[in-house]
């Protein structure tokens, strides 16, 4: 802003912010695109690939992510231990039960640019399976980002007035 002093303007432009994203009932791919944009620094007009101006992103409730379709059963995560016979293929369900942070981590890793700064950007990503965050991270947070997907309401979450206001389509 024009009313800031020069030092305050410099600080506001180049400071590394901490963003919070709640991944409850959200598709991990959309969460990962939001994370990747902010880890690279592409949401800033001063972006340059070599400038290292990415921000920190904290994702909570990664245990409660929601996949669309039958991806929990159909999506496969493969890895190889480099030894013969070491090719492992695991479904999303099995991987999630083993490690609830892995799906979001792999999604973000695949969306970052394939260069040496990818590892530093991944170090700035903080994943938590539940919503209990450590105190030092809570103190650093600056902004919470809105959730990409609108969570649909269950039938018991509608009030009695809303149910009565909805017209009955047919009479028995």
């Amino acid at each position: 802003m024009s009313s800031f002093t020069k030092s305050a303007q410099q600080w506001a432009t180049f400071a590394r912010s901490w963003y919070l994203i709640d991944a409850r009932m959200q598709p991990p791919g959309k969460i990962a695109t939001m994370c990747a944009i902010r880890l690279q620094g592409k949401h800033k007009p001063i972006y340059h690939a070599l400038s290292d101006i990415g921000d920190h992103v904290v994702v909570m409730n990664t245990r409660h992510i929601a996949f669309s379709g039958n991806k929990w059963e159909q999506k496969i995560y493969s890895s190889h231990t480099q030894y013969p016979g070491g090719f492992k293929q695991v479904t999303a369900t099995q991987l999630h039960l083993k490690d609830p942070k892995a799906i979001v981590k792999l999604a973000v890793y695949g969306m970052l640019p394939r260069n040496l700064s990818r590892r530093t950007m991944m170090q700035r990503l903080h994943l938590f399976p539940e919503d209990d965050l450590p105190e030092d991270i809570l103190l650093n947070l600056t902004e919470e980002l809105p959730q990409p997907r609108e969570i649909p309401r269950r039938l018991n979450e509608y009030s009695q007035e809303e149910r009565e206001a909805f017209p009955t389509l047919w009479t028995p």
């Binding site: 009932m25 409660h64 992510i65 929601a66 996949f67 669309s68 379709g69 039958n70 991806k71 929990w72 059963e73 159909q74 999506k75 496969i76 293929q89 479904t91 369900t93 999630h96 039960l97 649909p152 309401r153 269950r154 039938l155 018991n156 509608y158 809303e162 149910r163 909805f166 017209p167 009955t168 389509l169 047919w170 009479t171 028995p172």
Partner: protein, 210 residues
């Protein structure tokens, strides 16, 4: 059900004379539209609940039929259509999230009501059944679960995973081990092609293959 039998009897007795002469000449279309009374039965809205009241005054017994006043319900915009969805102009506008609409067509244990009861046309009945399935799998209808027999202990606790727009049943799907190359990828199906013609508000296209 007894009322429908009575109506059917009345219809056959009234139009019995007409049917004898023209039954051989009727085309298939006329045979389908032959039963106006049974389809109008679902369209009547101003019919209230009727009670039979018996009063005894000394030696005389008065049996009276009274009509209970039902509150006036909002009229559908397209009252002359056969299917309730077309009557309210909701053709391509509902989704698995519209639980208030879907809950009107399901039983208390989650199953669909038959078409001859609800009056839906075949295509809309199928679409509503698909949306109800997707809503069940997404966990949007928690009070409509089937009652388990007493003393039933589940063998393995199933993992509680959030999902939405699931086309196939959970146990029937196998993992895609070989996804293929970019030009011939084995895509994962999301949503259902029956809802392909749904209205999209905004510029986003409906993707059925992810």
């Amino acid at each position: 059900m007894a009322a429908r039998c009575v109506l059917g009897y009345i219809w056959t007795s009234l139009s019995g004379f007409k049917c004898v002469a023209s039954s051989s000449n009727m085309s298939a279309f006329q045979r389908k539209t032959r039963c106006p009374q049974l389809s109008v039965f679902g369209n009547i809205q101003s019919r209230g609940i009727r009670h039979i009241v018996e009063k005894k005054e000394g030696k005389t017994t008065i049996i009276e039929g009274t009509t209970e006043d039902t509150p006036s319900r909002p009229q559908p915009p397209n009252a002359t259509a056969q299917c309730p969805i077309y009557r309210w102009n909701l053709q391509n506008k509902y989704n698995y999230t519209d639980v208030l609409l879907l809950s009107q067509f399901i039983r208390s244990d989650g199953g669909m009501l038959p078409r001859r009861v609800t009056g839906l046309c075949a295509q809309e009945h199928r679409k509503i059944a698909i949306c109800v399935q997707m809503a069940h799998r997404a966990g949007l209808l928690p009070d409509h679960k089937p009652t388990l027999p007493e003393g039933h202990i589940p063998k393995k606790p199933k993992p509680q995973l959030n999902r939405y727009l699931t086309r196939w049943s959970i146990d029937s799907v196998k993992p895609i081990y070989r996804t293929g190359l970019k030009w011939c990828k084995n895509r994962i199906s999301v949503g259902h092609p029956a809802l392909r013609n749904n209205v999209q508000y905004g510029k986003k296209i409906l993707y059925l293959k992810h």
